[in-house]
Amino acid sequence: MTLAPPRGRVLVVEDDDVTRDLFAEILESEGYEVAAEPEGRAALVRTRSWRPDLIILDLVMPGVDGWYFRALQRQIPRLRDVPVIVISARRPPWREEDMLEPTAFLAKPFDLDAFVSLVDRTIKAERAASEPTESHFEVAGPR
């Protein structure tokens, strides 16, 4: 059993190489342990050995996209309660059949500060709940 790093583990699922690397760089500099994958299948494989405290999820991706990933994640017990921040140029409202129901949503493009503070708040809220129970929905970022 490994000790979780002080600020938590974040899994980034984003297909754009530059953006993905930036997310990783920013989060690492904020003190998080980061894993980054370009699409959903690789991300799911990663979680077998590495349980994240937060998932940052892009929607439009080749391969297993954000919708598909979210649907799979909700079926997997070890991942079901991990909070998810959806980051996309596609804004809510999503259609009902999208079944995304993320913990929070951040619309691209966004500010660095908005991103960092949303990650911080989401993980703290997750920690505060001793037992992972209800998820809360929050929309941040510029409209």
Binding site: V18, T19, S29, V60, M61, P62, W67, F110
Partner: protein, 605 residues
Amino acid sequence: MGGWGVTSEIGRSGPAPADDVVLALHAYAHALGEAADAAAVASHAVQTALSLLGASGGGVAALRSDGTLQWIVVTQAAQALVRTDLDDAALSALRDMKHVAFTFGRGRDADPGAPPGGSCLAVPLVDRDEPLAAMALVFPDDRAMAAADQALAPLIAELAARAMARLRVEADLVAARGRVEDVRKRAAILSDASTTLVKSLDFGTTVQTAARLAVPALGEWCFVDLADGQTVRRHAMAFADQSNEARARELLRQDPRGQGTADVLEPALVDRPLLVDVVAASESGRASPELRRLADGGVASYVKVPLSARSEAIGTMMFVSTVPDRRHSAVDLEIADELAGRVALALEAARLFDEARRAVRARDDFLTAIAHDLTNPLTALKLRTEVLARRLRAEPGTPRSTIVSGLDQVIGCAVVMGRLIEDLLDTARLQSGRLLDLHLERVDLVGLVREATAELQPLAERHRIRLETEQRSLRGNWDAARVRRVVDNLVTNAVKYSPAGGDIVIRVRRERRDGRNWAVLSVEDHGIGIPAGDLPFVFDQFVRASNAPRRVLGGGIGLSSVRQIVEQHGGDVSVQSQVGVGSTFVVRLPLERPTASTPRGGVAR
């Protein structure tokens, strides 16, 4: 002509006493007032003449347009003289517009069958100087000469002429009233049609509305058929009631196309308005078996009118009347034709509206796709700049290499965005129906690809972008910036659809095909591949697979842009792909200056 004063003279030479004459004339005038047609008038006139003048027979004849006589009424006794003396008398009276009397019968003794001699009196029936007819009377003796002297015969004729004139006016009135009725009906149907047709701009609704517009005013059944490429399909049917619908469906069911029985009911185009009186045709005995079947099926008449838009037949409207008393008239055909004109206009408007709506939707999708595609590099650019700025503020001694690599990424993002905007402009240009302005110049494809590879590599860290070629250079007349976009789009696409990383191999070679020299560029990845069913559509703009509408937004316009650019150079693009193995896109560009494929004005300014 003579007035009532003539009665005083009658006693002198006429066979009837004066009182009887007055009574008879009263009765005659009254009967004329009741007469329903010219034959009744003529009959009353002859009867009155016989009784008042003592003629043995007579008749009334009208002048045909060819100058011959048409006998409206002839008494039995006068029949033998038709075509001879009776005709002579009537024609003479009509020609001279005054009465004529003569005797006949002399010199006919040789013929035992000839009628006995006698006399003849003819008077014209004149209305306002127009001879309507002539009344000719036959007398067994020479009394015609005496009768001619008195005014009674002209009086009888004048009263008859007035009655005929009255009948004519009444007939005109009836016809006029009918015309007014027709005009009213036409106005009602057409104005109703106009107001109803404008209520919807939806094509399907308009077709359905059109079918119901004039049922039952123009028929109990209405079919609307529209041309669909080479075939004509029935788009709408309307029926006055359920029993009519049942009858129509029974006929249609019995007579599938090709059985040769009731094809008239099947969808077909007509080039001019057509009216068929099924009842009249079958009564005449000249009806085809098909028309007889229609008659048996309860069809009384039908009209077919073309629906035309921009002088092209786009369909047919057919009205069927099942009520023998309300068979279609020429006026109905006119109304139906005019109605069809309005329906065609409405359909055309609906079609244009539909096209416009689809174009607007395509534009919305386009804008959404563009916004989405621009968002990724913009996000990266913004974050990279912020991170760099934050770091420079926090650590004054930030290594130069960090700054340079950060700025390289910023430049890379800007390049990507610039390319997207170029694609956007080209696409917008093509969407508005204009071709690209190609700036043709001598371009070395090998050098161009080498440069692109170097610039794209930093944006794809998990991939190795390789150029394989045996050519040192390969020059053609192309639009350098656009060919570069072709390469960029294909490579970016390869990177995007091989998320696991790996080699992206670009090959450039020379090929001779169809008697021409080609530069062939291929981009191969080892990514997720494209399902076979999607392959035919990858170069289309904003393809939306119906099963996954939300998935395509990221697809953007890159590949459709590739195709447009390549095709306008006179080349072509194709793709081979296998799911889970990878994709290879192949672009062929002509090495000689493009000729036929070069659009007018498409060459460099």
